[in-house]
């Protein structure tokens, strides 16, 4: 029917056009750039080459990728250990308080990222609140090196993304079928065993979603290593930034971005498989219209 087709185009058309123009095409351009040579004056010479990819696996850049992955992985683990019990505690609160507790946990996530990161400079620097506090207590003589190192970066990443990890884990826990837990208990399992053998495996989709989210956003992060790493600790995001704005080697910057997106897609794909497997194995509470 032509009328319904017209309606479809009116509804979907503007969005599709916008996303194609300002998301898909720009990403495709980055993909193409990664196969070209850098021009003499910083532009792009349209000569096909694999050189950028060879350079990206050079030990220098490979080690930056590995270090970024290590930092992102540590942040992910720390965030999970903080988020899981918190999400579990929220899910055990009276139902009418759960939304309020979740909003309270999510609220910082919606405030300015730069400001949230800057707050940690105020807390962690040599004359910051933590160091002066500890000194006034007489516990330390010299200020601790808390800022401009890996510790500071990981703290910043965990702080910035923790709310989302709590949300992801919570949504998995709240979907658990209480009858399964009751069955486990009725069959005589102690509560720690019910948790380890039933609750934890069934909430893995939430854990996976939260982990992938914080890992992906951490490994490609620019602001946190820039402000809390003090410029002497580089992560992939900083290298991409430098290639585009300082070194003016756009093809190489594009290659690094492309590799980053590749890592991201692989993780999302793995997560999707995990979720599908978990849903296949376990009867979850039916979601309305899911």
């Amino acid at each position: 029917m032509p009328a319904s087709r017209l309606r479809d185009w009116l509804l979907l058309g503007p969005g599709l056009l916008w996303l194609a123009l300002f998301l898909v095409i720009p990403c495709a351009i980055v993909f193409c750039f990664s196969f070209f040579e850098r021009g003499v004056y910083g532009g792009i010479d349209y000569i096909f080459t694999f050189e950028n990819f060879q350079r990206a696996i050079d030990p220098l850049y490979l080690s930056i990728f590995l270090k970024s992955a290590k930092i992102a992985g540590t942040a992910t683990l720390v965030a999970l250990f903080l988020a899981y019990p918190a999400a579990y505690a929220i899910s055990k609160a009276p139902p009418n308080r759960q939304t309020a507790l979740l909003v309270l946990a999510m609220l910082p996530f919606w405030s300015n990222y730069l400001i949230r990161t800057y707050a940690w400079i105020v807390l962690l620097n040599r004359e910051g609140l933590i160091n002066t506090g500890l000194r006034d207590l007489g516990w330390i003589a010299e200020p601790l090196p808390l800022l401009y190192n890996e510790f500071a970066i990981i703290t910043g990443l965990v702080y910035n993304y923790l709310p989302f990890v709590i949300l992801a884990v919570y949504s998995s826990i709240s979907r658990l079928n209480p009858e399964i837990l009751e069955a486990s208990e009725d069959l005589g399992a102690p509560s720690w065993k019910t948790f380890l053998r039933v609750t934890l495996p069934l909430t893995m989709p939430g854990v996976a979603a939260g982990s992938v989210f914080i890992f992906v956003l951490s490994i490609g992060n620019f602001i946190t290593p820039d402000l809390l790493g003090g410029g002497n600790l580089l992560m992939v995001g900083n290298i991409i930034y430098d290639q585009f704005l300082t070194a003016r080697d756009w093809p190489f910057g594009a290659t690094l971005s492309f590799i980053l997106i590749g890592i991201m897609m692989a993780l999302l794909f793995t997560q999707a498989i995990l979720v599908r497997r978990a849903q296949g194995d376990a009867p979850e509470k039916e979601e309305a219209n899911a």
């Binding site: 009328a3 509804l11 979907l12 503007p14 969005g15 599709l16 996303l19 300002f22 998301l23 720009p26 351009i29 980055v30 903080l82 988020a83 019990p85 918190a86 505690a89 929220i90 939304t99 979740l102 909003v103 946990a105 910082p108 919606w110 405030s111 300015n112 990222y113 730069l114 400001i115 949230r116 800057y118 707050a119 105020v122 807390l123 004359e127 609140l129 702080y159 923790l162 709310p163 709590i166 949300l167 949504s171 837990l181 989210f213 992906v216 956003l217 490994i219 490609g220 992060n221 620019f222 602001i223 995001g237 991409i240 585009f244 756009w250 594009a254 971005s257 997106i261 991201m264 219209n289």
Partner: protein
């Protein structure tokens, strides 16, 4: 639901842990807010209450112009994204298809900002578009569409499309049906989505930084904050940070109130 026993140590530990997590989340923000009223302007020593730094902000021409730019960018990109994103949400929920489209819509939420930023910069450079506030607006609409669409779609999940069919069958035009049936159903989601996208746009730094082009004329507030932070810790940043955070918190809480189920997923 399984009830905990009284004096269950696990329960006590969980409650304590949750409190500590909230302390971890709010202490850094709280410290900034308190220090913004610190008279001497030292980051650590409290020397009396003062509004001095808020006054200094109002006299700072660079900050005021950045604030104006930010509002222009946020308002225009929010209006565009709300229109486009809401239409997209209706289309996707009505048709109930578009797994590919879903993946594309998810992308702006998860792609590292820096990658989206360089992609858009490459795109604008290739087309020889002059950079400025307009290119920031075009770019911000991309991720704002994704968020508005997600919020409105959540709203439409529980919508009964047979009401829509009934209205058409009874002879109402599609426009009337949209205005009288669909719009009232999605309106809280649309308003909440608009507020969230305004917040995101006001706070966004990297994409704006890359697509703003050279020169002070298209500096936004986060770009101004970034250069101030690079310059050093000053009480002026604390004052500005407090204002920016208060605006975000107010908008997000308002959005959550208007559209109860969507903000927290």
């Amino acid at each position: 639901m399984r009830e905990f026993k009284r004096f269950d140590p696990t329960r006590l530990w969980l409650a304590a842990h949750l409190r500590l997590v909230y302390v971890f989340l709010y202490v850094p923000i709280g410290v900034l807010m308190v220090l913004s009223f610190n008279k001497a302007g030292l980051p650590t020593v409290w020397s009396g209450f003062s509004f001095e730094w808020y006054g200094k902000l109002a006299e700072n021409a660079a900050i005021l112009s950045a604030a104006r730019n930010t509002i222009v960018v946020a308002v225009i990109s929010t209006i565009l994204a709300t229109l486009i994103g809401s239409l997209l949400a209706i289309g996707m929920e009505y048709r109930r298809r578009g797994a590919g489209l879903e993946a594309i819509l998810f992308a702006p939420m998860i792609i590292p900002d820096i990658v989206l930023a360089i992609a858009l910069l490459s795109f604008f450079t290739l087309l020889e578009v002059t950079l400025g506030l307009h290119s920031i607006i075009l770019s911000h609409v991309v991720f704002n569409i994704a968020f508005v669409c997600a919020v409105v779609r959540t709203r439409l999940r529980s919508f009964d499309w047979s009401v829509f069919e009934a209205s058409i069958d009874l002879g109402a035009t599609e426009i009337t049906t949209f205005r009288r049936i669909i719009l009232p159903a999605i309106l809280p989601g649309v308003i909440a989505g608009a507020m969230l996208s305004f917040t995101l746009s006001v706070d966004e730094f990297i994409i704006a930084y890359f697509t703003a082009g050279a020169g002070q004329s298209s500096t936004t507030l986060p770009m101004q904050i970034y250069s101030m932070i690079r310059f050093g810790v000053t009480p002026e940043i604390n004052a500005m940070a407090s204002i920016v955070m208060l605006v975000s918190f107010t908008l997000v809480i308002a959005a959550q109130r208007i559209n109860k189920e969507s903000v927290t997923g």
